[in-house]
Amino acid sequence: MIPAKFDYVRPSSLDDAVRALDEGGEDAKVIAGGQSLLPLLRLRLSYPELLVDVGSLGLRGVRDEGESLLIGALTTHDDAIRDPLLAAHCGLIAEAAGRVADPAVRHRATIGGALAHADPAADMPAVMIALDASMIARGPGGERTIGAEEFFSDYLTTALAANEILTGVRVPKLGHGWGYRYEKFHRTAQAWAIVGVAALARRSNGQVAEARIGLANMGSVPVRARAAEAAAAGADASADALRSAAQHADEGTRPPADLHGAADYRRHLARVLTARALAVASGA
């Protein structure tokens, strides 16, 4: 209910933020919107000694980079839902952002925070691996880019060093022919996905030329359903054909078994939801 004590700084420059994080070591944690972190602190599941609040660093908003968009880490989910650049060029992110939690949480929860928290049951990580997004990180040694699949290394664990801050995420502009769909299967509106499927499909001549599928809550990290992607490539953009392709969706996954779903049920859902998502994404 009440967090344990911690110190707090709110640096006004990225360099100061990195320095504070570096000096704080393993006991320092970044806080942005706090929508993932604060519940953990209140239940005393996490005991950082220092919170580095990155809320004053700007880093909010979407920038057009020509071939790609750069989403500032502090862009909120609500920002993402309304952003005209995302709507025009990467609607999957806007759609998925609208499925996260509820409006009040979305006003605070940031895209960067959701990615850095790296809960495999969350929606944004699955979306970003489907997009082959690149994470931009800043540390004492400077800036580096980390590919999405490499970024999500384990349950609640990213490739970020303890002294690195995620400053933004670069996503491709989906060009002509690309459709998308985020399918979130959950028991109640606020609940986490039992399984989530982020699907992109490029349609060409009544067929799916290329598909990309990211799965939420099918492992300790978000997973690309590569076997299903391969099966979908070249398939007719029809519900039946895509359903066949989607039978491969759970290959290579190790879905968890918990209160909300057994492993075999999750595998089944992954297949069903992938079929549905591909059908919508390809306009079948």
Partner: protein, 157 residues
């Protein structure tokens, strides 16, 4: 820092206080400022009873640190009436959209935020807009009616 000075404007009045970083905004409002109109219902940001407006947007005040509200404007249920009741307060009353009333402050604040961005929501949009606010008494039927009625009355926030 292990303590900080914050300045927050709440329901039109500006306060300056010395707080621990871990002090939750909802506790700051209730225990330090005496603004007990905003209740606490859970510890995982699910129930929404603590919903207030922070710089014009709904937030769950149990999931915001008071220190993060430094320099911000907060509106609570106690700031919604402006000489007379806000149309949502009126509509909740006239549609019997509350029974015990514990969820009502948060529900009204969330509904106000919904109408700000969607002045003419469908019933489905009302239900989805309130998905972050739990009520155990009303079954939501009259809450939806109240929000619809407030929208029809032209309430846009």
């Amino acid at each position: 820092m292990s303590r900080a000075n914050i300045t927050v404007t709440v329901d039109g009045v500006t306060y300056t206080d010395d707080v621990e970083p871990r002090l939750l905004l909802v506790h700051y409002l209730r225990d330090r400022l005496g603004k007990t109109g905003t209740p606490i219902g859970c510890d995982t940001s699910n129930c929404g009873a603590c919903t207030v407006h922070l710089n014009g947007e709904s937030v769950k005040s149990c999931a915001v640190l008071a220190i993060q509200a430094d320099g911000a404007e907060v509106t609570t249920i106690e700031g919604m009436a402006d000489g007379q009741w806000h149309p949502l307060q009126q509509a909740f009353h006239s549609e019997h959209a509350l029974q015990c009333g514990y969820c009502s402050p948060g529900m009204i604040m969330a509904a106000a935020d919904l109408l700000r961005s969607n002045p003419r929501p469908s019933d489905q949009e009302i239900r989805e807009g309130l998905e972050g606010n739990l009520c155990r008494c009303t079954g939501y039927e009259n809450i939806v009616r109240a929000v619809r009625r407030a929208a029809e009355a032209g309430a846009t926030s």
